[in-house]
């Protein structure tokens, strides 16, 4: 997990994680109320630039994620494009009825999903869990029990991955993987899920007892090993994100690419 973050000296890594989290969560509400196709097109362009500049993963992974998100976003809009309501029919075949309105609406929904995907990849690729949860405790005052619980749980992921491999090897050596049919599938599913769940619960319980003994659940007057504070990067971050968002809105006013300015409720 740790080797995912290659160049951690990028700006977005230095931003306060809570600020980044709240800011991105707020963007969701902003774009939920955008019904102008031009705005969402320009927002997608603006966030593409921001993503290529700021994302914290290697270029190769970043490119493939970008491509798959783009394609997948239009899968999610396919129902709207193919069957949506509309009067200016472009194509009609049995139930399929593509109209100008449904096409525009579908593209808006698809691009919106795409923008959300880019935003969350920006977040996920520049936010390691440890500073994130420390920041949640210090800035957002999340009870320490929950935050340390999450941190401990994240550390168990590699052990779980190893366990998964063990179960698979054990099943392979006993010939369980060669059986076919629904019964065999159910048997395998049961063995994987129960094995993983039982071991995780036992391990979590043991860890919790140990953590309780070391006063991890104590609430009053804590000090923190990592002090997450504020810096100049936070200001620059806020500035960059606002420029990205505002430029999307302004460009759609200056250079409207399509005549669809309110695609959700007609136009």
């Amino acid at each position: 997990m740790d080797n995912l973050w290659k160049n951690t000296d990028k700006l977005f890594f230095k931003v306060n994680p809570s600020l980044k989290f709240l800011c991105f969560a707020l963007l969701f509400i902003v774009y939920l109320f955008v019904h102008n196709l031009n705005t969402i097109i320009w927002a997608a362009v603006a966030f593409t630039f921001l993503y290529t500049w700021a994302a914290g993963i290697s270029n190769k992974i970043s490119f493939w994620f970008f491509l798959t998100t783009f394609i997948v976003s239009f899968f999610s809009a396919s129902a709207m494009i193919l069957y949506g309501k509309g009067t200016h029919i472009l194509f009609h075949w049995y139930l399929i009825q593509i109209s100008e309105e449904s096409l525009a609406r579908g593209i808006l929904l698809g691009l919106r999903t795409f923008v959300f995907g880019l935003i969350s990849m920006l977040f996920a690729s520049t936010t390691p869990p440890v500073p994130f949860f420390y920041s949640l405790m210090q800035q957002l005052k999340i009870p320490v029990r929950y935050a340390y619980g999450c941190l401990a749980a994240f550390r168990m992921l590699p052990i779980m991955a190893e366990e998964l491999v063990h179960i698979r090897q054990a099943m392979k050596v006993r010939g369980l993987t060669r059986k076919k049919g629904f019964g065999a599938f159910y048997e395998q599913f049961k063995r994987y899920s129960l094995g993983m769940l039982v071991q995780s619960i036992r391990r979590a319980q043991r860890t919790a007892v140990a953590m309780e003994a070391k006063r991890f659940s104590m609430n009053s007057e804590r000090t923190f090993y990592y002090q997450i504070g504020w810096s100049r990067s936070d200001l620059i971050f806020l500035l960059i994100v606002s420029v990205t968002v505002v430029s999307g809105f302004l460009l759609s006013r200056w250079i409207p690419l399509t005549p669809f300015s309110n695609v959700i409720d007609g136009y």
């Binding site: 998100t69 129902a79 309501k85 401990a152 129960l194 319980q205 919790a208």
Partner: protein, 197 residues
């Protein structure tokens, strides 16, 4: 003798809930592409497996049997999905909050006394109803023809009943046989009665 149920979440409950939700978060992340693929052609096949995204709430509620765990589990699983870079993105967190709250509601209505297949199925069903609140504006459902909406809701409810009602119940039943549930459930009066025999 102290026989009152202890309803406050302690660190063990929280950690077990979060670890289980993290497993579910990983499953959500891996199921994401499958869901996206099923969305193509728009015939709402995706709604059939939507139910898997509600499983964290009912499962942990049946497992730990305390107030708040269903909400915590669903939220934590959604947060994990966001941190793993799931395909829906930051939206998933909002879905998690709403679905968790709706899931929790059913167990609260039964005053945290009934943890059986019925409440699990109801909980999954209300969670899927909760997900509709966000899906309606997000996917502009009201601009769809009637048959798409009907198909989506029927598929979604069927999926929810099976994947987040029956499935978690069967899993917890199987876990009970392994004895691991005794580690995490609050001590009940019956447990004390066993001591007196």
């Amino acid at each position: 003798m102290e026989t009152k149920k202890n309803y406050v979440l302690n660190l063990t409950d929280i950690l077990v809930t979060i670890v289980v939700s993290l497993v579910f978060g990983l499953i959500f992340r891996l199921m994401g592409p499958v869901y996206d693929l099923l969305q193509s052609f728009g015939i709402q096949l995706d709604a059939l497996i939507y139910g898997i995204w509600f499983i964290a709430g009912p499962f942990t509620a049946l497992l730990i049997r305390k107030p708040g765990v269903a909400f915590l589990a669903e939220t934590a699983a959604a947060l994990a999905e966001v941190l793993f870079g799931g395909s829906g993105g930051i939206v998933n967190l909002y879905y998690g909050l709403i679905q968790g709250a709706f899931s929790e509601l059913i167990f609260a209505v039964f005053l945290y006394k009934r943890f059986n297949i019925g409440t699990a199925m109801l909980s999954g069903l209300t969670a899927s109803a909760g997900s509709l609140i966000l899906d309606f504006p997000l996917n502009a459902f009201y601009q769809m023809p009637g048959w798409v909406i009907t198909l989506n809701i029927i598929f979604r409810f069927i999926g929810a009943l099976i994947l987040s009602g029956v499935l978690p119940f069967l899993l917890v039943k199987a876990l009970e046989k392994t004895g691991v549930t005794q580690l995490v459930r609050p001590v009940t009066k019956e447990d004390y009665d066993v001591l007196n025999k």
